[in-house]
Symmetry: C2
Amino acid sequence: MKNDKRVWLYDTTLRDGAQREGISLSLEDKITIARELDRMGIPFIEGGWPGANPRDGQFFWKLHEEPLERAELVAFCSTRRPNVRAAEDKMLQAILAAKTRWVTIFGKSWDLHVTEGLKTTLEENLAMIRDTIEYLRSRGKRVIYDAEHWFDGYLQNPVHAIDTLKTAISAGAEWLVLCDTNGGTLPAEVSWIAGEVREKLAIDPDDENSPQLGIHAHNDAGVAVANSLAAVIEGARMVQGTINGYGERCGNANLCTLIPNLQVKMGYDCLETEQLTRLTETSRKVSEIVNLAPDEHAPFVGRSAFAHKGGIHVSAVAKNPLTYEHIAPEAIGNQRRIVISDQSGLSNVLSKASSFGIDLDKNDPTCRQILDRLKELESEGYQFEAAEASFELLLREALGQRQTMFDLKGFQVHCDMLRSESEAIATIKVTVKGEDLLEVAEGIGPVSALDKALRKALVKFYPEVAHFHLTDYKVRILDSGSGTEAKTRVLVESSNGHHRWTTVGVSSNILEASYRAVVEGIEYGLSILPRRSEEAGGRRQEAGGGDLVGSQISR
Amino acid sequence: MKNDKRVWLYDTTLRDGAQREGISLSLEDKITIARELDRMGIPFIEGGWPGANPRDGQFFWKLHEEPLERAELVAFCSTRRPNVRAAEDKMLQAILAAKTRWVTIFGKSWDLHVTEGLKTTLEENLAMIRDTIEYLRSRGKRVIYDAEHWFDGYLQNPVHAIDTLKTAISAGAEWLVLCDTNGGTLPAEVSWIAGEVREKLAIDPDDENSPQLGIHAHNDAGVAVANSLAAVIEGARMVQGTINGYGERCGNANLCTLIPNLQVKMGYDCLETEQLTRLTETSRKVSEIVNLAPDEHAPFVGRSAFAHKGGIHVSAVAKNPLTYEHIAPEAIGNQRRIVISDQSGLSNVLSKASSFGIDLDKNDPTCRQILDRLKELESEGYQFEAAEASFELLLREALGQRQTMFDLKGFQVHCDMLRSESEAIATIKVTVKGEDLLEVAEGIGPVSALDKALRKALVKFYPEVAHFHLTDYKVRILDSGSGTEAKTRVLVESSNGHHRWTTVGVSSNILEASYRAVVEGIEYGLSILPRRSEEAGGRRQEAGGGDLVGSQISR
């Protein structure tokens, strides 16, 4: 479907998104995210509320010195306070100091918030909207008007609500954004209300000179994306949302879901096709910057969004991807994955093995042995879905192809916060190429000490170990109900500067679990990675070779 | 809104939900979940596919011996294979062996899946549907027919798709469930297709003797809930979904979102009002059983769903909850929370303190000191949103009300996997009531050893410590990009058998972070909990007193 109509994307990750519990952005974080959004081609990026906190003011100054390439940076602010002249409202001075071309002003639509919240009259509410927008227009700003609590307000007092928008238009606002601030509106209501607003304000979505409608949805009823789509169908030409749907309470409309729906499925024009392929990467980068684990089950961009686990699905997708995939994952920079797990039938194992370059015959009894071993380990708490390097080691072992790079005899960890403020000390005993080694190292914590001691021992025999380092370390408590005696699953991501791979260790002792994952990480890097890199080098000539390497970099 | 129409809930957590990456259910897990769903009043509970794996067979036998109280347990199966008699299909024998009154049979709606997947003809597809349903009817079963890939199939070949449903009706199916198997359909499409189906099959949603439509949506486009609502508006009277939206790829329609939307917002009759208040608890219990962290931002049931963080929201909600809450959290067993965080203004701290029974004056300079200390700790990686016990200790300290229960001098941890397979050993030095103590204990891992050593030292002075135990232990790596040297945040939940409370510790050394959280947990249990319990006892007489205790039990 292609309808050639433009929908303007407006990102508020840096303002509304940052309200999410658990997010706390530094100035540098905000700048990095803004540049990432700019690169992806988002036309409007809301940077913050300059008067509300000093960091947001600094953010606008920084980006005024070194501007974004294409996006319009937008400063956010409320209308003036009641009974104050716009020119004397400090917040409005702060928004002017942000020096953006565009500003977003939010005002009250719901009479309850005017009379109970602001303790003022509906007339004064209209005056606040008019004065603020007229003042900002007189200072050369272009204005987006966010109608806060639009849907609740319209249901309670449609006359006053419509008056607020008429006031905003006559004062010079170019966009009127219907905000579902409490997030409780359902799609059918959004449809009829947005349709009525369009008619009552005589807005023509196809006329460039007409003021236009936008939608700003929250996800408290789980339908923020559907509400945004409903508004677009009724003529809204701007959607406001956040990357990964971050936002207060249940979040804002998720742009990573909205954009592919609008563009790939409904044919609206939002981003260049090339920019759209950056979507998955942008989603993951932003989640790294805000330091939240990515939602692996997120539509379109999640690691599991195109993952196939059930046996029937796996064999059908191998025949024809259309059968179980609603869009091509490549369009948004994601990729298909075949998942290894408890439920996997033989076909999953075969398909995964073949992605490692191992051709297994399904009648080979080794296959059954691998499946049995897999189930045994999973019942102990292992999971290989995120630890493909460990899974490949398991496969190679079953096939008699696991090389002995070193033989570990054990470790000791000592951590003394009693007599000194010392770091942790780890001792490791290992046999390499017939030689017994005892090595010791200090680290900031016990796992770092273990990793250092092992690499110190091995580097004499395998110099490439000097380039290995741990890039991620994740701990998951299984059966967390049993407190500190619970089983611990540790995922370790290692890198040699070019490739990343993930290994897993499980134990009731967090140190032992960490140790196992670290050891497998080093073994994989030494024994399998060189082979993989050669093959990938060769395959990259052929189509699709990059995917193989991609599937190893399982982040 | 109340419309008195019944919508039948059909839960498939145990079958489709279990397909989610990361979920692996034991027989006991499945039984526990089924009983929980039964208690909440879900009328149809799909238990599994009896022929597909032995565990599902056992599950049905177990529940046949000790049946559910009210729910209909449903067994799931495909139609017979092509060119085989129904009576000779092993899968159909297995579904009969499950001994349920109701069975769900899924068949193909999309011609592509018939010709390419099954390699058979469209005529044989109709015969497979007819034979299977007629056979099961002849053996006394009542039949729900799941029309797999309905929407894709209808768009490709509406004549064949409608024929499959007509065949299912004439063979005796009572429910026809439109499945969006690939999850790519958008609400507007669901509306018009469901409307057309209702007309073409002459289904009357209000006639008890008519076959009825159902909807089974997947979330690949982020609109599974909205699609389900759209189908209900068009006359579907059954919604299939899973608790917490678990399911393959991006999951199934989330019943925890759908139920409140249907019942509280749209007025359909799904559960008793009393049963609905179990929703939040059920959501969290199921997430514990499947061992996945609950989605704190989930609509309705998430811990953040009614959490208020921004200063404006907090003060408005204090005046009138309606201003920023779309429904009353109590209706679904959730509760309002005021969040302590970096962004919190003074009003959040005041409001939280008052929930601890501490009345602060906002002009008191101590308030500013508390805010400053909070920001300092948060910049080190502390977070108090989930660790209210630690926050209360912080408040009491600032107010000069923190009692010294014991004075820690330090700890040593030793873990030897070199000379022995021993457990970890922890030594702790502590001064209690003027007496210096050195204690040592063994544990299965270092944290458990630390906890034991500390309690061993303290129990002589504080016998109640004998009843304390750790009930949950969570590790989060902050800044995970720096590998094993990253900062670690540990949350520890402690219990004395009646109350639970959560404390936090942060350090680059995972042992030190754990130690800090464990120590604060014991301190809170000794110094603050007794006071809290007395107050709560007093307050429980008044309305709302239970909430106070509830807010301490922050799970």
